[in-house]
Amino acid sequence: MSDHQYYHGLAKSMMATIVLVSIAPLFIIALIAGYQYSVAYEEKVEAHLRELVLKHDQSVDVFLEEKIAEIQVLAEVVGVNRLQDEDGLKKLHDVLVRMHGTDFVDLGLVNDKGIQEVYAGPYKLEGADYAEAEWFKDVQKRKVYVSDVSLGLRGVPHFIIALQMESEGRQWVLRTALDFIAFNKLVEDIRIGETGLAYIINKDAEFQTTPRRDMTGEMPLLRQLVKQVDNSSKLGRGRAAMTIEADPVTGENIIFVTSPLKSGEWLMVFQQEASDVFSALNRTRNLLIVMVLLGGISIGAMAYLMSRRMARKVELSDMEKEMMNEQVIEAGKLASVGELAAGIAHEINNPVAIMVEEAGWIQDLLDEGLNKDDNEREVQRALNQIRNQGVRCREITHKLLSFARKIDPTVEEISLNDMVQEMAEFCEQRARYANVLIETSLADSIPAVEGSASELQQVLLNLINNAIDAMDPGGGNLDIMTRVEDQNVVVSISDTGVGIPQANLSRIFDPFFTTKPVGKGTGLGLSIIYGIINKMDGEISVKSIVDQGTTFTIRLPMAEGNPDNVEQGEG
């Protein structure tokens, strides 16, 4: 049944509305809050990484500068003469080792030919020739030189600080090897998350510290990174510059924070996988998604249950309304029947009165004796009259019965002409006493209409009764016309009564609107008619002129399957 589909659709649209209305804000809040959170979190994490790198590059720089300064102070204070003395140098080295741990691995004084003349340290490097060493050439130009990390002559990772000194017109170079381990520790201690690691590389992307894990796969990337520094791109130029590159090995995005060291010769690099950096953020995002998902599911379930319940309620209330409607129609019918009852009682009383009189007359004649005059013929006449009046009574009661049966809403095909004729006859007696002349002009071959016969009867009876009332007292003419117009069957009921004032015309179909005195009219008649006609897909209209009369016009669609109606199909 289409009713079921209707309520199903209603439930669906309600559900859609509820879901939309509840989930949309949830989504918007989740999106906005999530976005804000991620932006804030990213900023914070980046700031943290930068700060970390800044702090460390500073401390590395400070470390280097400190060592250089120490050596410089040493050189200035002690002077070349004492350094040339091997015992003096040894003593000096001992002091350094005592004060600075193993930072200063050894000390050596190299003459202008590059030969290490004096040496103090764990290795036997006296007389080592550094004439061809890079640092030796470099220190001639720059006075102070800090080397990259190298294995050097001894095969242990270290780096060298060399200092040029001048004494008595001769050039000397004081060189010291610094232990790589102490230095390495400075950087190696930076560890964040699982993949965060820090290291220092030189311009050739050679590691100056030992990274915690094998980095061979990432070398091309690092080389590229270093090149970018030279290319004076933003990376590496500023301190703690940040860039994100895809790892060639794992394909993961890696965040690099770089800072130049040693006047740009070295580069401090901190790297961490982006997913690691933002793991907390990702966790939050996943949590948010799960929450939205759970919220969505619970909203969906609620919406489903609620909409079903509401649709059920609507269905119930519709059913109640339907029942109420039927009761109202029934009540209206009773009211109009009640109105009729007066006329009907009178109509029946008249023939009954005649019969009683005739019976009395027969009694009189019998008392007189049947053989007297033509008394017998008179008795025959009286009996005939009684029979005739009885038949009259029967007709009235039959009409009344046919009308007063319970409202039957079954849809059937109705011949409008027949029904108009029937109702006109039904009301004729009442009309006669009200001095109303009912005239019907019915068009030939009016197609059938579809509807409930008893309801349509009620419509016609109501309109005829109203028309008669409108002409009371004084009487008038009541014309009932049927015709076909634009595939519609039209009935118009015109009276010559008092008419309806313009102000009331728009309200006459409202329930409980009545101009009759209290207790005389229910004010339901026309609203019930309106309901019935509407149900039949028809229209009812009214034209009225005060003191001249009123015409009610009903248009009803022809019954489907009617020969005149075939081309039109489902209209």
Partner: protein
């Protein structure tokens, strides 16, 4: 002398049969099938009691009563009514009808009412005659 009766009702069969029965009981009866006809008869024939139907096409009983009382004040009127118009009949009594009867009525009841009405009318007339006589006597200074 029995009361002279006028029956006014739109039911022809009823009027005719009742007239026959009344005549059999020696009442002089006139008949009319609507109010106007009745009024015409009243102005031609002397009538004591009118039996008047309340509900008739054209002029109804109430209006006819008013006309009768206006034109023939001494004539008594008995209203005849179906159940539904009892209120109308009572309204008629307020306006001067003698009584009302419900259809269908039985002959004895009707005759009793007619006789009562006739007695009332006769009493009325006697009193009028008396008053007139007294008036004449007074005028003559007896």
């Amino acid at each position: 002398m029995p009361a002279r009766i006028l029956l006014i009702d739109d039911e022809q069969g009823f009027v005719e049969t009742m007239a026959k029965r009344l005549e059999m009981r020696n009442y002089p009866v006139s008949t009319a099938f609507n109010a106007q006809e009745g009024l015409d008869t009243l102005s031609k024939v002397t009538i004591d009691v009118v039996v008047l139907d309340v509900k008739m096409p054209g002029m109804d009983g109430i209006e006819a009563l008013a006309r009768i009382k206006a034109e023939h004040p001494l004539v008594e009127v008995i209203m005849l009514t179906g159940h539904a118009t009892v209120e109308n009949a009572i309204e008629g009594m307020k306006r001067g009808a003698f009584d009302y009867m419900m259809k269908p009525c039985d002959m004895d009841g009707l005759l009793a009412k007619v006789d009562e009405a006739y007695d009332k009318k006769v009493a009325h007339e006697d009193r009028i005659l008396e008053a007139r006589a007294r008036h004449i006597a007074l005028r003559r200074g007896v």
